[in-house]
Each structure stands twice: as structure tokens, then as C-alpha cells.
């Protein structure tokens, strides 16, 4: 575990020593020691749940470490104090943007930079400084724009500007590319290079191997809260990194050869009106036994499409058919028709946190078959939940544990199990007609991701039509048979996976439809 290259030594801009943190029974960080040199990009690599976000949150002062110290620019940093971190020159771009939608860009950037009890804000001076900073680093934004009107990429620029406006010398970016198209990610990387040239040091958190190798100087790999290796990016191998991240060889999901069947579900000229994330003229056919991947950055209409196909929303124009029958917007009708639905936000929409595991297991079918004459059939429900939990390896508690107490991976397994077993309404051997999987592996560790992929592949082999919506291009390229790209509410033609290149998908994500259809 030696630091090579430019790290370490007296010139370190940041020095973390022995940082440990637990949350109840979970050890998030275990005696991590790390240095950051001036002008370098250090990547923190690890799968979801490895402790990367916790570590930088401690650095920034959101949490207080149970043990360990932090030195910034040679002086000790007071723990648990974001104001102190900011004062010393540490800036953070959070994974979930900390911006107030109803206020302007300038308001968001300037907050906290003036003495709180000053009698008047210096608006003109602040605006001038904001524009100057933006120009210097090539991050153009309109200071008077309301944040709610900005695109995701623009919002990220505002987040970065917040730090640069405060003369940050260390910039922490937490999973910055998860919301960007490949082109926007490339633009971000060149911005980072420009910042380094100016003398900033950068900590870059990611779980994506390829981009970490591309952009960083050194890579620190975290696994289960421990720092397992620090490597020079120039000499590191991606397979080596993958194994360090997971600690064992990961079995790639196996796709079985199978028949493609008839059209299981089709939407035609679908239109959904919405303030953001509308759909315009979307046509798509999903065939049995095939996985169709919808690539694209979140917020381009994927949620509306998923809502229509889950029965939550009626389109404003266009038709929706399932197995040839026209369907109306009623979740129960879709569930009874054999549609398995995996929602995007598992905690907000997938499970009811206060309900027990067994109650969540029957949540989609509490009326039929798990009720009779208005009374819930408890014994039958619990029996079903038990089988489900066993078959889908749901761990973290018994049938009566509240869903909120389960980890993300176990919640996803519970949701998967519920969706793929259909309440045993057709006996043990149930295959859904259609599976709508909306960001099914978001925030899951590699093991859980592989599990979910395998289940989707198995279901597809048994004849289910699978719609996979994901902003993770690697995931789509790994398991989809056909790929379509969503941008601005429009869907490109769904072409076989082999016909796409990464660059072409990236281009389509930015709206170059003509290119996508012509190529």
C-alpha cells in the first residue's frame, strides 16, 4: 500500500491520517490514511457502499470522524465544520446537487460568502466576480437565471463555480459524471485539467473504472471502508483495479441463447406533456425474449415513459398496447396483466419504508390474491413472502423487519422478487410478459448489480420482454439486445446493440438524431 508518484511528502496539500467512522453497526471508514499533492488529480475508486462519500464528507466537515486527523496546507483542520473547510480552501461538488431551484445562480453561488450580519449585499461586485471566475475557467452560466430552468450539466457548472468563487484550492467531486452525457463528461475532464494547471488539487470520486483511468494521476481504491491500494494511474490495469475494488473475481452475467418472440408491448406516437421530461412522438416495440436498453441522461423523458408503461400515467396522445390489447392507466391492470415493474427510486416509490418485509412483498397484490372479503390473508401472505425472501436472497432481517432497515441491495432484491414472481398467481412457474426496469442497479454494489443483471437475462431467456432504462452506458452495452437513445423526449430507432458504437450513442444522447438514424 505505498503511495507512488507525486503523492506524499512534506508538499502534501491534504493529509488524512487514520480516519475511522462508524454508523451504528456499519463501519464506513476504517483507519484510512491518504495524502493529496498540489496540482494532482486523485481518484477515489470503489464500488457503491465502499465508503468514498463518507470519507470526503468527513473531510468537508459534514460528519465528524470517530478517530483520525486531517491536515490541510500544513495546519490541522477543525473537524465537523464546513465553514472551516471552506475557509482553508476546500470546496465540494456533491453528488446530489445542493442548489435552491427557486433562486438564481448568483444567489446560490454567493450564499455564505459575505458576513452574515452585513447590512447590505454587494450585488454588483459579486456579479462581476462571478462572471470573471466563470470566464477564467470556461464555465459559462447566466448569473440571473433561475436554477430550476437549468439543465443538469449547467447545474453542475454552478456547483463547481460555487467552489471556485470561494477560491478553492482543493476541489472534491462526488460521482460527477453520473448525470452527464459522454460529451459533457469530456468537457468536464478538460475543465479539470485546466484547474490543475492553475494549481488546484482535485479529489475525484467514481465507481467507473474507465474514466478514473482516463482522468486521474493517482488512484486510491477503497473496499468495505478500507484503503486497499494506491496506484499510479499511468501503470494501473483495469482488471487489476476491478479485482481490488471487489476483492474477488466477479462472474460476468451469462446470456443464454434464446428465441425472440412476438411483440409483447408496443407504444406508438406517444406524447406526454409535462413541464420537464416530456415525451414527443415516441414509438417503440418490445418483443418477447429480448432486452431493449434505453440509454440517455436522466431527465430526458425516461420517467414519463416508465410511468406510462407501469400504468401510472395516461399518455396525452398515442397508443399503448400490451399483448395486442389497449391498456389504460391503472397500475393494477398492468400488474394483473403480468407486467413486472422496477421503479427508479426504490425508497421513494418501490417500497414503503414503514411497512414490514412481508407487507411490502404483497404490496402489488394485496387485494388479489392476498385478501378475501376485505380481510388480508396474513398466513398466505407471509408464506409467499418467506418463499420470496429465500429465493431472492433478501437479507438483513426477518419478515417483520421494516423495509427502511434493509440495505439498498436487499430492498432491490425484494422489489425484484415481488415483480418476478407475480404472487404465484399462476403457480410457481411465472414469467412476466414485460419487465420495466428503471435504473435497476443505481447505487448497488458490484455483487448486487451482477445479481440483478443475471435475473433480467434469465427472465428474458424464459420469454419476458425487458425494457431497461439506464443512464449507465456500460450496463446497457453489457446486456441489451437492442438499444435506443432518449433525448429531449424523443427516442431514436432501437437498433441492435452491435450496430452502435459508444461515440454514436454519446452523440445521440446530445440530440444528434439525424446522425443516429443515418449512421
Amino acid at each position: 500500500m505505498t503511495a507512488s508518484g507525486r503523492g506524499g511528502g512534506a508538499g502534501a496539500v491534504l493529509r488524512l491520517s487514520g480516519i475511522s467512522k462508524r454508523f451504528g453497526a456499519i463501519v464506513a471508514n476504517d483507519a484510512i490514511s491518504l495524502d493529496l499533492a498540489r496540482g494532482e488529480i486523485l481518484a477515489l475508486l470503489g464500488e457503491n457502499g465502499a465508503g468514498k462519500s463518507t470519507l470526503v464528507s468527513i473531510l468537508f466537515g459534514h460528519y465528524v470522524a470517530d478517530a483520525g486527523t486531517i491536515e490541510a496546507f500544513g495546519k490541522p483542520l477543525p473537524p465537523g465544520d464546513p465553514a472551516a473547510a471552506l475557509a482553508v480552501g476546500i470546496g465540494m461538488v456533491h453528488q446530489h446537487f445542493t442548489l435552491a431551484d427557486n433562486l438564481t445562480v448568483q444567489d446560490n453561488v454567493v450564499l455564505g460568502t459575505e458576513p452574515l450580519w452585513a447590512l447590505a449585499s454587494r450585488r454588483a461586485a459579486a456579479r462581476a466576480k462571478l462572471v470573471a471566475t466563470a470566464e477564467k475557467f470556461g464555465l459559462m452560466v447566466d448569473p440571473d437565471a433561475r436554477v430550476a430552468t437549468l439543465s443538469v450539466g449547467e447545474r453542475q457548472r454552478v456547483e463547481i463555480l460555487k467552489a471556485l468563487y470561494r477560491d478553492a484550492r482543493v476541489l472534491i467531486l462526488d460521482e460527477p459524471t453520473s448525470v452527464l452525457t459522454p460529451q459533457e463528461a469530456a468537457a468536464l475532464f478538460s475543465t479539470l485539467a485546466r484547474l490543475c494547471a492553475d494549481g488546484l488539487s482535485i479529489i475525484f470520486i467514481s465507481h467507473k473504472l474507465t474514466e478514473v483511468l482516463r482522468v486521474s494521476d493517482r488512484i486510491a481504491v477503497l473496499r468495505a471502508g478500507r484503503l486497499v491500494a494506491t496506484l499510479d494511474a499511468a501503470t494501473a490495469q483495469s482488471s487489476e483495479l476491478a479485482e481490488l475494488m471487489v476483492g474477488r473475481a466477479v462472474r460476468k452475467p451469462v446470456a443464454r441463447d434464446h428465441q425472440r418472440g412476438d411483440t409483447a408491448c408496443a407504444v406508438s406516437r406517444l406524447r406526454v406533456d409535462a413541464e420537464s421530461g416530456a415525451l414527443h412522438d415516441v414509438t417503440l416495440a418490445l418483443r418477447a425474449g429480448e432486452i431493449v436498453g434505453i440509454a440517455g441522461v436522466s431527465g430526458n423523458g425516461q420517467q414519463a415513459l416508465a410511468d406510462v408503461l407501469c400504468g401510472l400515467r395516461a399518455p396525452d396522445a398515442g397508443t399503448v398496447t400490451l399483448a395486442g390489447r389497449s391498456m389504460r392507466a391503472d397500475p393494477r391492470a398492468w400488474i394483473d396483466a403480468g407486467v413486472a415493474r422496477i421503479p427508479e427510486d426504490r425508497h421513494a416509490a418501490g417500497v414503503i419504508g414503514d411497512f414490514a418485509v412481508w407487507e411490502n412483498a404483497i404490496a402489488e397484490r394485496y387485494r388479489r390474491p392476498f385478501s378475501s372479503a376485505g380481510i388480508v390473508r396474513r398466513t398466505a401472505a407471509r408464506k409467499y413472502a418467506r418463499t420470496l425472501a429465500d429465493r431472492f436472497d433478501v437479507r438483513g432481517g426477518g419478515l417483520d423487519t421494516k423495509a427502511a432497515a434493509l440495505s439498498g441491495g436487499n430492498v432491490q432484491k425484494l422489489i425484484l422478487g415481488r415483480a418476478l414472481t407475480g404472487g404465484f398467481s399462476q403457480g410457481d412457474d411465472f414469467t412476466p410478459v414485460l419487465i420495466v426496469a428503471n435504473q435497476p442497479t443505481w447505487g448497488l454494489d458490484i455483487g448486487a448489480v451482477a445479481y440483478v443483471h443475471q435475473r433480467l437475462l434469465d427472465a428474458s431467456a424464459r420469454g419476458a420482454a425487458v425494457l431497461l432504462i439506464s443512464d449507465d452506458l456500460d450496463e446497457i452495452l453489457a446486456i441489451a439486445d437492442r438499444i435506443a437513445v432518449m433525448h429531449g423526449g424523443r427516442l431514436s430507432r432501437a437498433r441492435p446493440a452491435g450496430e452502435w458504437t459508444r461515440a454514436a450513442i454519446g452523440l445521440a444522447m446530445t440530440g444528434a438524431e439525424a446522425a443516429a438514424d443515418a449512421a
Binding site: 454508523f23 393494477r332 414503514d354 404490496a363 380481510i375 432497515a405
Partner: protein, 353 residues
């Protein structure tokens, strides 16, 4: 200082919480009694004796508890579905008015129908009146996003003014010697006494039955499942296919109906007619009762008896020592707040760093 979520809910805290709350409340009350210059021990003795110290005390407490059980249930049902029904007071009066409208001695004899028909009709009318009063704000919420806290609150004032108006006019008791009270309820529609020579009436049985039914519904029926789902996470419930708007409407009907029933039972069991002051804030007390009971229907019965005891005991106590009856309201308010804080520790632990 901050709060850290516990890995598992603390059972010890769950059992201790009510006692901790009551202990803190008694301590605060002690300070107030001392301020009034009254002897502390004697005050508490009178308070307790007035609430539970004799057969008569118990009967008064149980009589007071009867409408409180209904309003407590009403609020508990609503709050469980995250429908903030602050309008139980108005719904109670509406129910009382409806009861008298159906069963009152209008023009001397009232409606010419047998009691067997009129009694259920009377109760049905009161349930409907309370339900409608809550359905309107609920509809405004589902359709227009108007926060029901303020609308139900404002409706209380409107209903009370309407009652005053009706008592001055169309529903005035001709034999009432000018007092603003309504026509009296027909004799055979009034509730029997449960215990002779006391004011305890069979309405208490109705209240207990309602609590039992509600407990069963919440725990074991599909409606209870839907209600709890919508209250816990409306979005996930909608995703799973729970008909959210319809469930809310049902919740509003049940909650408003229970409060309306409180009014009807009070009229039929205790007063015999509607007056402007027949409810000393039973609707608002219902909120406290529901929170003290942790929104559990059976807990509501216990909490209602407790609050009723405090109110009755304070009345009796104030006749013996120079402590104003308002101490009862203080006790109720402090126990609510301390109960809230106490139950917090079931899920969270206090960390000093």
C-alpha cells in the same frame, strides 16, 4: 448535540415513553400549582380523587371520556393517513345538529316515525354531516393542493357561527326560555344510562365498540392496509396500485363521521339538545389524545380516559383549592409535547457530538 438513528427501535423507550411524559408533566404542573400558592400535595390529591377517587368520580370521568374517545379515534384515523384533520370540533357540532334535525321535537312531536327507524337515521345523519365537513377540505387538497390544516381549522369557526345562527333561528327551542339551545331530542331516542344514578350512558359502549372495530380494520383489513400505506408513503402506495384518492376519501368519511358521531352521542346521551358550549374543545383534545395514543385505536381509549380524568379532576380540584381550572389545559398541552419528545427516543439516540 445531534440525533443519531438507532439500528433497531428501542422497546424499552417505547414502554417507558408514556411514563416519562407523565412524570415530566406532573413536574411542570407542580411548579404552576406552587405559583398559584396552593398546597401541592393537597392539590394533587384532589385532582386524583376528583378523577378516579370514587364511584362518582369514575362515572364523571367515563362520561367525559365518551365523546373524547370518538374524537380521538377520528383524529387517529386521519393522522395515520397523513390527513391533518384539525376540524373535529366543527364536525362534532355538525353531527350534533344533524342528530337534532332528524330526531328533535320539531313542532312538538318531531318526525312521525318509530324509534327503531329514527335512531339509526339520526346516527347516519350525524355521520354524514361530519363526513361532508371533512370531505370538502380533503377534496380541495387532492384536487388543488390546498393544505387541509388551515381549511379544517377555519371551518371550525364557520360551523360554530352556523350553529349559533341556527340556534337563534330555525332550530331554536321554543320551550327554552330564551337560552340559545336547540329543540330537544325525542325522549325515546335518547340513550339509556349505563350505570344508574350516574351520567354514564350507553354511548360509552358505542365508543368502545367503535375503537375495537377500528383497531380491527387498521390491522387486518385491506382498507386498513391501504390507509396505512397512503399515510406511510403515498407515492409508493400509488405505484403499487393503491387507489390513493379513493382511500383518502374513505379516510375522510370515517374520520369526519366519527367526529360527527361524537356530537350525536353527546346529544343523545348527556345533554338532550344542542348548545353553543356543549363541547369544551373536544375536537382539539382529540388531537392530543390521538398523539398520546401513538395513533393506535386501543391506545386512544386509554388516552381519552386519562385526559377525561385530568379535566374532571381539575374541575373538582378547583372547588377545593385556589387553582384555576385552566391547569387542566396546561396539563394536556405539556403531556402532548413531552410525549412527542419521549417517543422520539424510540427511534433516535442523543449524541453530544
Amino acid at each position: 448535540m445531534r440525533l443519531e438513528a438507532r439500528a433497531r427501535r428501542s422497546r424499552a423507550a417505547l414502554l417507558l415513553a408514556p411514563f416519562a411524559a407523565i412524570a415530566f408533566t406532573l413536574a411542570v404542573t407542580m411548579a404552576l400549582v406552587a405559583w398559584a400558592g396552593a398546597p401541592i400535595r393537597e392539590t394533587y390529591a384532589l385532582l386524583f380523587a376528583g378523577a378516579f377517587g370514587s364511584r362518582f368520580a369514575w362515572s364523571e370521568t367515563l362520561t367525559r371520556a365518551t365523546p373524547l374517545i370518538f374524537t380521538g379515534l377520528s383524529v387517529a384515523v386521519a393522522f395515520r393517513a397523513r390527513l391533518w384533520n384539525i376540524g373535529a370540533e366543527g364536525q362534532l357540532y355538525a353531527g350534533a345538529l344533524a342528530a337534532v334535525a332528524v330526531g328533535g321535537l320539531h313542532g312538538g312531536a318531531g318526525f312521525d316515525l318509530p324509534a327503531g327507524v329514527l335512531f339509526p337515521a339520526m346516527l347516519g345523519a350525524s355521520i354524514a354531516a361530519g363526513a361532508v365537513l371533512l370531505l370538502v377540505p380533503t377534496f380541495l387538497r387532492t384536487r388543488f393542493g390546498v393544505d387541509e390544516v388551515v381549511t379544517t381549522l377555519l371551518l371550525n369557526f364557520i360551523v360554530l357561527l352556523a350553529v349559533s345562527m341556527l340556534l337563534d333561528g330555525p332550530m331554536k327551542d321554543p320551550a327554552g326560555l330564551g337560552w340559545p339551545q336547540s329543540v330537544a331530542l325525542r325522549d325515546d331516542l335518547q340513550l339509556d344510562k349505563l350505570v344508574p344514578r350516574t351520567r354514564v350512558h350507553t354511548g360509552l359502549v358505542y365508543a368502545l365498540v367503535a375503537a375495537a372495530i377500528l383497531a380491527f380494520v387498521v390491522r387486518a383489513t385491506t382498507l386498513g392496509f391501504e390507509m396505512r400505506a397512503v399515510g406511510a408513503n403515498a407515492r409508493a402506495a400509488a405505484f403499487a396500485g393503491v387507489p390513493v384518492a379513493r382511500t383518502m376519501a374513505l379516510v375522510a368519511t370515517i374520520s369526519g363521521g366519527l367526529a360527527g358521531l361524537a356530537g350525536a352521542i353527546e346529544v343523545a346521551g348527556r345533554t338532550g339538545y344542542v348548545t353553543l358550549d356543549m363541547s369544551p374543545g373536544y375536537g382539539y383534545s382529540g388531537i392530543v389524545i390521538a398523539m398520546l395514543a401513538g395513533l393506535s385505536p386501543l391506545g386512544v381509549v386509554a388516552a381519552a380516559v386519562f385526559i377525561a380524568g385530568v379535566l374532571v379532576g381539575a374541575d373538582s380540584m378547583s372547588r377545593g383549592v385556589a387553582v384555576p381550572t385552566y391547569i387542566a389545559d396546561v396539563i394536556v398541552a405539556v403531556s402532548l409535547v413531552s410525549m412527542l419528545v419521549a417517543t422520539l427516543f424510540v427511534r433516535y439516540r442523543l449524541r453530544l457530538r
